[in-house]
């Protein structure tokens, strides 16, 4: 019987090994371990054995049964794994095909530049001030030390609505309005907005464009404060390595007036096509608020001083992104706008 048992075991193990699929393996299970299988038969036949042999034989049968069962289970796992693998193989896709596009839009490049500038100055404690795009001549010119008859306020250069009302030619009237409203309080503002000039549209001119100006008024605001503020701004906006330089200039509403250059962000100062071989790029105009402007707004110029600066987001965007034609900003070609969809850091 022992011999028979051993033979049965070998036979079963062989069949398990040979079973090609889960189904056939299940047949083997039924055949050998099922209620009508030979092992069950053997167990049933135990009764015929002498009582003292029964435990020994019982143990032997159990060993065989466990061996077969273990083998079966192992094979079953293997087959199942194979089945899964086959299924996965069939499910394989071409991962190089493009993904489902996520529908996303993005900022206009000018908004991108304006918000960057706003955010820097907000972090420095500035408020964002806005004002009307259609302005009174008083705020646009007179309050800014450009009295009537001043050559800079030619009818030919501005879009007038009436003799006293025009489309603002700069965002400076927001400064004048803010000063008039704050009535002698210290001021720290940044003023972005659309402005208009009577220019024919071409690659470098636009009758509508954007400006962002800043104004700080307080007791004993110094020109060194202007320089320090602008230097920080240049680094934040154009890179840590940026140097600035101030050059004397002229604006009716500031005295002294300066223009600020930054070291070229493309070549670092060695000279290239962006900086026209000078190593420097003109970025903004600024200066100390003219005493007449302070006085007209009700600030005592012997006590209060201030600085102001202004720049053109179009110019900055053109320099930064290499845009060659200002009209791109207002054509709203999807192929243009959609390029400004990613971070620059």
């Amino acid at each position: 019987m022992e011999q028979q048992l051993e033979q049965l075991k070998q036979e079963a193990l062989q069949k398990i090994e040979d079973a090609p699929s889960v189904k056939e393996l299940n047949d083997v299970r039924v055949a050998y371990l099922g209620k009508k299988g030979p092992i069950t038969d053997l167990l049933k036949g135990m009764g015929k054995l002498p009582a003292e042999e029964r435990p020994k034989m019982g143990a032997l049968v159990n060993v065989v049964r466990e061996t077969v069962t273990t083998s079966l289970e192992e094979k079953m796992e293997l087959l199942e794994q194979q089945a899964v693998n086959e299924k996965l193989e069939k499910e394989t896709i071409d991962i190089t095909l493009p993904g489902r596009p996520v529908k996303l839009g993005n900022h206009h490049p000018l908004t991108r530049v304006v918000e960057d500038i706003e955010d820097f100055f907000i972090s420095m404690g500035y408020e964002v001030a806005e004002g009307p795009e259609v302005e009174q001549d008083y705020y646009n010119f007179e309050a800014l030390n450009l009295p009537k008859g001043h050559p800079a306020r030619d009818m030919q250069d501005s879009f007038y609505i009436t003799e006293d009302v025009l489309l603002r030619t700069h965002t400076s009237p927001v400064q004048a309005r803010t000063m008039a409203a704050k009535k002698g309080e210290p001021i720290k503002i940044i003023c972005p907005g659309k402005v208009y000039r009577r220019d024919s549209d071409d690659a470098t001119h636009s009758h509508q464009f954007t400006q962002i100006e800043g104004l700080v008024v307080g007791e004993d605001i110094r020109m060194s404060d202007l320089k320090g503020t602008l230097a920080l701004f240049a680094k934040k906006m154009f890179g840590e390595e940026r140097e600035i330089r101030l050059r004397p200039s002229f604006f009716p509403f500031t005295e002294p007036s300066v223009e600020m250059d930054i070291s070229c962000f493309k070549c670092g100062g060695s000279g290239c096509n962006v900086c026209k071989k000078t190593g420097w790029i003109e970025i903004l105009g600024s200066g100390m608020v003219h005493p007449n402007v302070l006085e007209m707004a009700g600030y005592d110029p012997t006590v209060f001083t201030g600085f102001a600066f202004g720049m053109g987001p179009e110019r900055i965007a053109m320099l930064k992104y290499g845009v060659e034609d200002i009209r791109h900003f207002f054509t709203n070609d999807m192929r243009f706008i959609s390029q400004f969809n990613r971070t620059e850091v």
């Binding site: 095909l97 489902r100 596009p101 529908k103 996303l104 839009g105 206009h108 908004t111 918000e115 907000i122 972090s123 404690g125 408020e127 964002v128 009307p132 795009e133 259609v134 302005e135 008859g149 800079a152 009818m155 879009f159 007038y160 609505i161 009436t162 009302v165 489309l167 720290k188 659309k194 208009y196 024919s200 009758h207 509508q208 007791e219 004993d220 605001i221 110094r222 020109m223 060194s224 404060d225 320089k227 320090g228 503020t229 230097a231 920080l232 330089r245 101030l246 050059r247 002229f250 005295e255 002294p256 007036s257 100390m288 900003f329 207002f330 709203n332 070609d333 999807m334 192929r335 959609s338």
Partner: protein, 803 residues
């Protein structure tokens, strides 16, 4: 302003400083040098030649065979210029010579004849054609008879020069003269300025015996001085004078005119020369023109004058447009023998107005309209008299004829060094400040710790303390200013709630698939009110540049649609744009239109487009509505916003809705009317425009956390058959109302219109979710509630469950 460094050298010593370095120093000190023009760049091997003989080329009509003495030898040069002739001294470019533009001269054969070089025009040496004297404008340049063959022609022509082109700011009119530039450069280099010495011998005859002067328009002409010079021989100017004029961009004419131009450039004081005999009346009267009066100016244009324009007359008729241009009737010509030199101060505003009215800007008017130095008016006239005597053989009559009520006082400014330093944030010592002002030749005295400054009249831009602070700072060097930040109490910066929410709106719309556009505020009258949510009288420009940009917009949509059409025309089928910006309505009390912030959007094309999986879906009303619903949710306004069916001009009558906030219309959404689509070359296009100011003025509901459900909810789906006209919205309202507190949510999940329902009917399916936050609902409760909902539907809308 073109500044010849060679000419400048007469007044200030710049030796040893490379022109590029000088330009950099000038720029950093305050006057921007735009370009540096090296006039000899590329020019080599160019000498004086003497044409010994000139014969026609046997094989070519237009060519001449010239034997030219070029110093050590005589060579044959073929020349095609019409004005070449034997006996002339000319400019010869010899083999090996280089000309501007890279042209190289080589020995060559022209129609069988050897040519050992080229006889040059000034243009061929890089001189601008418009500055070449008319006599030589069309041919070769003829050098003076005393030029020595074989010597360097470039130095003779003053082309061994570097020109600095100044880009002057309006305040620095003082630098519109060589002397003004000399003061500036002298200050920068700490050099003295050498002024011209004016010496000549005057005649015994007196100018006042020859000429009478009457100034009737005293305010517009507070100073007028006339000198009379007799026995003038009008001729070509000496070469050095012509060279200076050409370097400055001025065309030489004859010695008299050239002298007036030279002095204008040297002193910044415009002069005019009249032919005394052609004046005819021995009288000059300065007055305002009579309306309709006529004058033919030097450019041979007859101009009709307007009342108030300042004119110089001979007592009868105008002979010059004061400060702008002379008249042809009194022009100096070859036969002129007696010259009247005018030097005057005309009021800047008067000159500016006349110059603008007649559309003439001259070297004279640009200087006069900025205000010339009152103290140089007389000096400039004397300088011209001197040069006429030296260079034109003139006899200057004693004295001058003049009218003078001009204020020539300088402005006194007193300031303390502490004031300067406090404004600059610096510590410049007082003696350093004094030294800077002295370098600028600005009279200054230091007394009792104060600087007492008398701003010279040549510097009209120096009026107040701040002007002097700038002078001190720019010459001390802006690089020396330290970098600090404002001290004092600091306030938190930030955006206003409107600005913050506007950023939120932009970010939301972009995350919803829309690109931000920026369009023009100015539009045509026809488009100004199209699609406007609210119309009011339009704001119109007084002098538009074109009809297309003549009126301010009252809706953002026309230009957004224009941008959409632009894109579609370039085969970009799917366009999704939005804009935030102002519209302009009516006129308020302050004379300004009411500016209202709006947001608008346009979508067209495919909203879902995943080509290789064959998934694409056109835009429709509900894409746009979904975007708006998402926006309202983002703004926390969902509960306050409703949509009602509406009609609007330009929009599809069956596919348009008003957007209401708390029951008030704040916007519109809909499909563009098919005829409007056709007009704009667009396919199905959906638009929206919302009054952003009203929308953002509404506060969001407080955001309070709602407990995450701990008990299960139960769903019941119903399919209703209702009339086609029945709005899903009203059915949902009925369901909401009847469902009460237990009804957590209701959504539409199917819409069917077709054969399986009766004509005129549709089937709408809703999914209802019942839920109680505090317990699990029983089936019975839900059934009871659900039955109530069904009953209400049947009662209020006749809806029956679909069988």
């Amino acid at each position: 302003m073109y500044v010849s460094t060679k000419w400048l050298e007469n007044y200030v010593d710049t030796k040893g400083i490379a022109p590029a370095d000088l330009a950099e120093k000038i720029t950093r000190a305050g006057i921007e040098v735009d370009t540096i023009i090296d006039r000899s760049e590329g020019l080599t091997n160019i000498v004086v030649g003497h044409v010994e003989s000139c014969e026609k080329h046997p094989e070519a009509d237009k060519l001449n065979i010239c034997q030219v003495n070029v110093g050590e030898e005589t060579v044959q040069i073929i020349c095609g210029a019409p004005n070449v002739a034997a006996g002339q001294n000319i400019i010869a470019a010899l083999p090996g010579a280089k000309l501007p533009g890279g042209m190289k001269i080589k020995k060559a054969k022209l129609r069988g004849e050897v040519s050992n070089g080229m006889i040059c025009s000034l243009q061929e040496l890089g001189v601008e054609g418009k500055t070449v004297a008319k006599a030589y404008a069309e041919g070769i340049y003829v050098l003076p008879a005393d030029a020595k063959p074989g010597t360097d022609a470039l130095s003779l022509l003053g082309l061994d020069d570097v020109i600095l082109e100044f880009d002057l700011t309006p305040n620095r009119a003082d630098a519109l003269s060589m002397l003004g530039v000399a003061y500036e450069v002298g200050a920068i280099l700490s050099q003295d300025v050498k002024l011209p010495k004016i010496e000549y011998t005057a005649s015994n005859e007196k100018a006042e015996d020859f000429l009478k002067l009457k100034v009737e328009a005293k305010e517009d002409n507070p100073m007028y001085i006339a000198k009379v010079v007799k026995n003038v021989k009008v001729a070509e100017s000496p070469l050095w004078l012509q060279n200076y004029l050409m370097a400055a961009g001025v065309r030489p004419h004859n010695n008299v005119v050239d002298i007036t131009n030279f002095v204008l450039l040297e002193y910044g004081q415009p002069l005019h020369a009249f032919d005394y005999d052609r004046l005819a009346t021995k009288e000059i009267v300065v007055r305002h023109a009579v309306e309709g009066e006529k004058i033919t100016t030097l450019d041979d244009v007859e101009r009709t004058l307007r009342a108030g324009q300042l004119v110089i007359t001979n007592g009868k008729e105008p002979v010059a447009l004061a400060g702008v241009m002379g008249g042809a009737n009194s022009e100096v010509y070859d036969g002129t023998t007696t010259v009247v030199i005018e030097s005057a101060y005309f009021a800047p505003a008067s000159v500016r107005k006349t110059s603008k009215d007649v559309g003439l800007r001259s070297d004279a008017s640009t200087r006069l309209e900025k205000g010339v130095d009152p103290n140089r008016v007389a000096e400039a006239a004397e300088r011209a008299a001197q040069l006429l005597s030296e260079l034109a053989g003139g006899e200057v009559l004693a004295g001058s004829v003049q009218f003078d009520e001009l204020n020539k006082e300088s402005v006194r400014i007193i300031l303390s060094p502490d004031y300067v330093n406090r404004r600059l944030g610096m510590k410049i010592p007082m003696d350093e400040m004094v030294s800077i002002l002295e370098r600028l030749q600005i009279p200054v005295e230091a007394a009792n710790g104060q600087l007492i400054v008398d701003a010279p009249t040549r510097r009209q831009d120096l009026r107040i303390k701040e002007d002097l602070i700038e002078e001190i700072a720019r010459l001390y060097g802006y690089d020396e200013i330290p970098m600090t930040l404002p001290i004092g109490e600091s306030v938190p910066g930030g955006l206003s709630s409107f600005q913050e929410k506007r950023r939120l709106v932009r970010r939301y719309l972009e995350s919803a698939g829309l690109y931000q556009a920026i369009t023009y505020s100015l539009t045509s009258r026809a488009e100004s009110q199209s699609f406007a949510l609210e119309t009011a009288p339009v704001t119109e420009l007084l002098m538009p540049m074109s009809e297309d940009r003549s009126v301010l917009r009252q809706s953002l949509l026309p230009h957004l649609l224009e941008a959409t059409t632009y894109n579609v025309a370039r085969r970009i089928d799917t366009v999704s744009l939005y804009e935030t910006g102002s519209v302009f309505l009516g006129t308020q009390e302050d004379g300004l239109p009411k500016e209202v912030g709006h947001v608008a959007a346009v979508i067209t094309g495919k909203w879902v487009n995943h080509a290789w999986q064959q998934e694409n879906k056109k835009v429709d009303f509900f894409v746009m509505k979904g975007i708006i619903e998402g926006l309202m949710d983002t703004l926390g306004l969902t509960e306050k916003v409703t949509y009602t069916k509406a009609t609007h001009d330009g929009l599809h009558p069956g596919r348009t809705a008003d957007i209401l906030l708390n029951g008030e219309v704040v916007g519109v959404l809909g499909q563009l009317h098919p005829s409007e689509q056709k007009k704009r070359d667009l396919k199905e296009t959906y638009v929206t425009e919302i009054n952003l100011a009203l929308l953002l003025a509404e506060s969001a509901e407080a955001l309070v956390y709602e407990q995450v459900p701990r008990y299960p909810s139960m769903s019941r789906d119903i399919a209703l058959v209702v009339s086609k006209d029945e709005a899903a919205g009203s059915l949902m309202e009925i369901i909401q109302e009847a469902g009460g507190k237990l009804l957590k949510d209701v959504t539409v999940f199917d819409l069917y219109e077709g054969d399986k329902v009766d004509e005129g009917m549709k089937s709408l399916a809703f999914s209802l979710t019942y839920f109680d936050a505090d317990r699990t609902l029983t089936d019975e409760e839900v059934v009871t509630r659900h039955d109530k909902v069904l009953a209400a539907l049947k009662e209020k809308s006749g809806a029956v469950l679909r069988g």
